[in-house]
Amino acid sequence: MAEYVHPEVLVTTEWVAEHAADPKVRIVESNEDRALYIQGHIPGAVEIDWQVDLQDQVRRDYIDRAGFEKLCRTYGISNDTTVVFYGDKNNWWACYAFWVFKLYGHPDCRIMNGGRKRWDLDGRAWSTDRVHPQQTSYVAPEQDVSVRALRDEVLKHQKAGRALVDVRSPEEYSGQRLHMPDYPNEGALRGGHIPGAVNVPWVLSVNDDGTFKSVKELEKLYTKESRLKRRSPTVAHCRIGERSSLTWFVLKYLLGFSNVRNYDGSWMEWGNCVGVPVVKGTEPSGGSEPHGVADAARASVSPAPVHA
């Protein structure tokens, strides 16, 4: 059976169970819902929260290098620690945390395939113990910008006709969905997508048990049907850059794309920018089938995530 290009970044629940007490390994849980960790976590795992721990609380950006070093020291992570991420929601937030760790150049990061769901399905025990990691020393390099795309770079990338993959739901991509009736718009002033971006909803990359699809299925999805190329510079984005960090992980590590970046500003930046190109509709170029009544009705009941 064909293998992922970098199979070493994925570990099984069995591997985690065996290594949970290994001093060279730190298990990190990252969730949509923080109370899940309190309800029960993998024995010995610490929780790193994407909003409270990884993001700057004043500027819209990640914590700075000093903040990242402090975070690692507090959670018992050294430069040579193997950090294994897992979480709820098919590892969305685990991939997001993984990406931030790569942004600060942490060498050995892995994902526990299947996350909380797979751990549960495998009948493994949860712990409610408080985890008190020993302080470590940690020195982080400057950000590795090869994994991150900023707005102006995305604009250049788009103008050059390079590959963009929009991983939001089809309704968000086409511009049908922007905000709910009765509610203030939570994110963007304009709906639609970046011209040229192909739409591959992130959820197509994972199986029902939360694990990643096989390399064959992923190749079909990304390189055959969506015609993305392993050697072409590619940028992934979603609404706030979290669903696309899962797609970034899939493209870079499972399929071996040599140059793929996550645009973390994503639609909550692009859809508010003055003067950037936006198209509506189901096609990358913006050409589309007309929005029928049935589509509009579907959009109004579809549970597309709004705060993610």
Binding site: E32, D33, R34, A35, L36, I38, Q39, D49, Q51, V52, Q55, D88, R130, M180, D182, Y183, E186, I240, S300, V301, S302, P303, P305, V306, H307, A308
Partner: protein, 152 residues
Amino acid sequence: MHDAPRMTSVETRLNSIISEFADLDGREKLELLLDFANRLPPLSATYLERKAIEDRRVHECQTPVFLWPEVTAGRARLVAEVAPEAPTVKGFVALLAEAIEDQPAAEAEALPDDLLERMGLAEVLGILRTRGLRSIVGHVKRGITRQFNAQP
């Protein structure tokens, strides 16, 4: 000496809940929220039937949340179902339900929007989650108002 303005019964309940949360650290606050989540009763057969035919899902929540803000004889009540994978949302909804249960509808309509800040939960949950939960407060208040206005 001036008389303090009389607090409504919903305010009294909320203040007692807020003071329960006040001195706890982040982890303990989430533990207390889990206690609320565990107290949310499952839907009765009547509401399970209604769930199948009524559009009660709160669409701006990622996880399945179904709410029935109701008014009977001028008294408010919140019936709810929240998916177990969202215990924070479940706990907060349960807390709102306990606060307004059988209280005058006009008081339930006045639920404060800054509850999470006053409980000290906003900094534990972060900006986006706080915003999501706050929209649930708005949803409940609007539902109560609609029901209240529809009363004979």
